[in-house]
């Protein structure tokens, strides 16, 4: 039996080496996908459609016959399979990330960028689940645990290969905050808050400081003498105040959700509500606030006091109220490979099919402010899409291929990728349940 392991591992290693030897070089840059059922999310479903991508961007999408096939395109006849945008996960912990340490409850200077292990099998599982963009976040054990990172699952050898560069040159990412019990330490020792009111007070204090810091910077103008010393934490909070960095606020209970909205109003930023377990209780308030919601769908309520009233109906309630809804995996809480399932179960609980599919794609993109680049299939957008064996909301459907910026990063028919898709010997070697077992 051990010989068999050794042989299997040798094959796996050989496959890994041969596949990583240069997928970019091996893949043509112009592709035409024909004979596909296309859910573009940007428009009505196309029964027999064609998708053309070139140099990592979508060139054309439309019914067969209406889209010319470039002569240099590598053509893929999909035989009636389904194509939809790559999935956008607005809250994940893949890659072994960690943010702030135990030294303070607010650590806005800390970056997930500096902790991501791109060789973690979590990234491979995410590709197997059809995810193409992922908001990777530090945990919820702090009021503010650090800066998050919006990753493109392109594959690669360093974190730089996964980053999204914004027009202003910055790396795309948000800021992770949390209220409720996870960031409270009931022991009363140390710098962490012991109550909800103290939690809110510490956050207000931090934002007041950031306002003052921004004021000083603005008043100093070009005068280097008057400018305050650079403060890495303040800089990220100023980005929040300026609306160029999104706060992803972990919050479960209805009163905690309202507290987030109150703080956001006070400091004039638009947060993304993360988890929103009791969102169904305050759906109208959420809709009125303009805050987006990143909803988790969980197999049963409970597991912690704040999640006792967690319901699969939150997506439906928020949809009805007119709020912006996306889903997330919170991987390891739910597995990236089952992300489509979140939409299926939300529809079971009353959400419309249309909005549930948007919540996996374009609405996630909106919450990350990347909707001009990703989240739907339209000319000029990134060529991030997945090929499914059937309807996205059916349990029997498999993710067969995942493409990021015109390159195939997952193919179920490859033995190595199949291993990541279903598990088996070596599929999650060395993975641990990170501090984020505390997450949710």
């Amino acid at each position: 039996m051990s010989l068999r392991y050794a042989a299997a591992r040798a094959v796996a290693v050989w496959l890994a080496l041969s596949l990583s030897a240069g997928p970019a070089a091996a893949q043509s840059s112009t592709h035409a996908f024909t004979n596909a059922r296309i859910l573009s999310i940007a428009g009505a479903p196309i029964d027999k459609g064609t998708l053309v991508v070139r140099d990592g961007k979508i060139v054309a999408v439309g019914p067969a016959g209406s889209v010319p096939l470039p002569p240099d395109a590598e053509t893929h006849d999909l035989g009636g399979k389904l194509v939809m945008p790559g999935l956008v996960d607005t809250h994940s912990h893949i890659g072994g990330v960690a943010g702030g340490d135990g030294s303070a409850p607010l650590q806005p200077d800390v970056r997930v960028l500096d902790s991501l292990d791109v060789r973690s099998t979590g990234l491979r599982r995410a590709q197997a689940g059809g995810l193409t963009t992922v908001n990777v976040m530090p945990g919820s054990g702090h009021l503010l645990s650090g800066q998050t990172l919006y990753l493109k699952l392109r594959g690669g050898t360093t974190v730089d290969d996964y980053l999204i560069k914004l027009a202003d040159g910055r790396v795309a990412g948000g800021l992770k905050m949390a209220n409720g019990t996870n960031s409270i330490r009931t022991s009363g020792a140390g710098p962490f808050p012991g109550t909800r009111a103290k939690s809110a007070a510490l956050v207000r204090e931090q934002f007041v400081k950031a306002l003052e810091y921004r004021d000083k910077v603005r008043k100093a103008g070009d005068d280097a003498e008057k400018r305050p010393a650079r403060d890495l934490g303040m800089e990220s909070l100023v980005e929040v105040l300026d609306g160029t960095r999104t706060v992803h606020f972990h919050t479960h209970r209805h009163d905690d959700i309202i507290t987030v909205l109150r703080l956001a109003r006070e400091f004039n930023f638009t947060p993304v509500l993360q988890h929103v377990s009791e969102g169904w209780k305050v759906a109208d308030e959420i809709a009125r606030s303009g805050a987006g919601s990143s909803v988790i769908v969980i197999d049963s309520p409970g597991g912690k006091l704040e999640a006792v009233d967690l319901a699969m109906t939150t997506g439906a309630a928020l949809e009805k109220a007119g709020a912006l809804v996306a889903f997330h995996t919170d991987d390891w809480i739910t597995d990236s490979r089952h992300f489509l399932r979140s939409a299926g179960l939300a529809v079971r609980a009353g959400m419309s099919r249309e909005k549930a599919l948007e919540a996996l794609t374009i609405n996630g993109a909106r919450l990350l402010k990347l909707e001009d680049r990703i989240g739907s299939l339209a000319p000029g957008k990134d060529a991030d899409f997945i090929v499914l064996s059937g309807d996205p909301l059916s349990v029997y459907t498999r993710v067969e291929q995942t493409w990021v910026e015109g390159r195939k990063v997952f193919d179920l028919s490859s033995p190595e990728d199949h291993l990541y898709a279903v598990g088996g010997y070596g599929a999650t070697r060395g993975e641990t349940m990170h501090a984020d077992e505390e997450e949710q």
Partner: protein
């Protein structure tokens, strides 16, 4: 309860039947999965006042007697069986007072009874019931070498006595990392754990033979050894949670040495040793299809069930044990994923009905829709496994216990 139901109950109580109040129920469905033969198109299941199935057949052949309440569904299956959970001992709140599935004071405590710790009103029991799960094999969980006993309950009743089907089903053993004690306490290694287990079984064997010997030489009763004696007498199996191939091998070796029945639980790496498991004739209650893979479960596969199926090893599916969020899995969802990862839908359904019943030794009562069996039914408005289908009704012992679409 209807007036008629009440009257029936009075009659039955007068006759001395120790059964719960049951309305007479007829369920008509486009598809009836009896699990005792091919599915029946446009079928009817009749459940009598005694809570037992009276008749199953095509609607054209079965007349619904007057006074029966008729429920309609697209699909009806036997009430689902969760072949291994800790729900009822473990509760939704995840606070110390509702986490009774693991006693950490000693490594070997086979005398701990599940009936003494089961909360029939636990919200998670209701959650499972609303998803069509009517029978639970629950009790002491993984986490100690011998953590205690398990039992079988229906997901109904306000108190354990109303719920219980089998008060002592198995004795829970954990081999591998999860069964080790912390610090310098024993067992601290796999080899030590097996040594302790063998030592305890030897003690029980000696005790059993003396208890069966001359009266004047009988040792005083010992609850721990009493419990293990039932395993040595093959009345109850050990439920051995083992994920690594090493631990599965250890479980089979101990079973062979003491000639005792065991059921393997979890078995993340079972697919590596199917020949050995098959040769030992041991059934497997497979880890949840969507169980998280890390630590000693790092090599689990969503296809474990289908690989066991291919090897001809009897298996059932389970919700397992969750320590955080979600606090329980739902075996209906785990079966659905298994159906999408190598099993046929019929095989996956069997793994949460009749095949589970056989492994739990309760196939005489539940697991299929046949005359004389308990009137436990799950009603669906579509393919039971599709994410977007709903459980539209649940019947236990002839009582309609849930009609909230879930």
């Amino acid at each position: 309860m209807t007036v008629r139901g009440g009257a029936v109950l009075l009659v039955l109580v007068a006759l001395g039947y120790a059964i719960p109040a049951s309305a007479q129920v007829a369920v008509r469905a486009d598809t009836v999965h009896t699990m005792a033969g091919p599915a029946i198109a446009d079928g009817i299941v009749l459940v009598g006042a005694d809570g037992k199935i009276e008749r199953v057949g095509r609607a054209a052949d079965v007349r619904v007697p007057a006074g029966y309440r008729t429920l309609r569904a697209r699909v009806v299956t036997p009430g689902l069986i969760d072949a291994h959970t800790v729900v009822g001992l473990s509760g939704m709140l995840n606070q110390p007072h509702d986490q009774m599935q693991l006693e950490r004071s000693a490594p070997l405590q086979p005398e701990l009874r599940a009936v003494d710790a089961y909360n029939a009103r636990e919200a998670l029991v209701e959650w499972l019931r609303r998803h069509g799960i009517t029978t639970l094999h629950t009790g002491h969980g993984p986490g100690a070498l011998i953590s205690g006993q398990t039992m079988i309950v229906k997901t109904r009743g306000d108190e354990v006595d109303e719920a219980v089907v089998e008060p002592m089903a198995m004795i829970a053993v954990t081999l591998g990392d999860a069964g080790l004690a912390e610090g310098d306490r024993a067992p601290g290694t796999r080899a030590k754990a097996v040594a302790l287990l063998r030592g305890e079984l030897l003690k029980a064997r000696d005790y059993l033979s003396k208890r069966e010997g001359p009266e004047d030489k009988r040792p005083a009763r010992d609850l721990r050894l009493d419990a293990l004696s039932q395993v040595l007498k093959k009345e109850r199996p050990l439920l051995v949670t083992a994920h690594r191939a090493t631990d599965i091998g250890n479980a089979l070796r101990v079973a062979r040495e003491f000639d005792i029945p065991i059921v393997l639980d979890g078995a993340a790496e079972a697919y590596l040793v199917t020949d050995t498991i098959k040769a030992a004739g041991v059934p497997v209650i497979v880890h949840p299809t969507m169980m998280r893979a890390f630590g000693e479960t790092e090599n689990l596969s969503m296809e474990t069930a289908s690989r066991l199926r291919a090897a001809g090893i009897p298996f059932a599916l389970q919700s397992g044990y969750e320590s955080y969020v979600p606090k329980t899995r739902v075996v209906l969802f785990e079966a659905a994923l298994a159906a999408a990862r190598g099993l046929t839908p019929e095989q996956a359904l069997a793994a949460v009905t009749i095949d589970a019943a056989r492994i739990l030794r309760i196939e005489g009562r539940v697991g299929s829709l046949e005359t004389g069996k308990d009137g436990d039914l799950a009603l669906f408005d579509g393919d039971p496994f599709e994410y977007t289908s709903h459980v539209t009704g649940v019947v236990i012992d002839g009582r309609v216990v849930s009609e909230t679409p879930q």
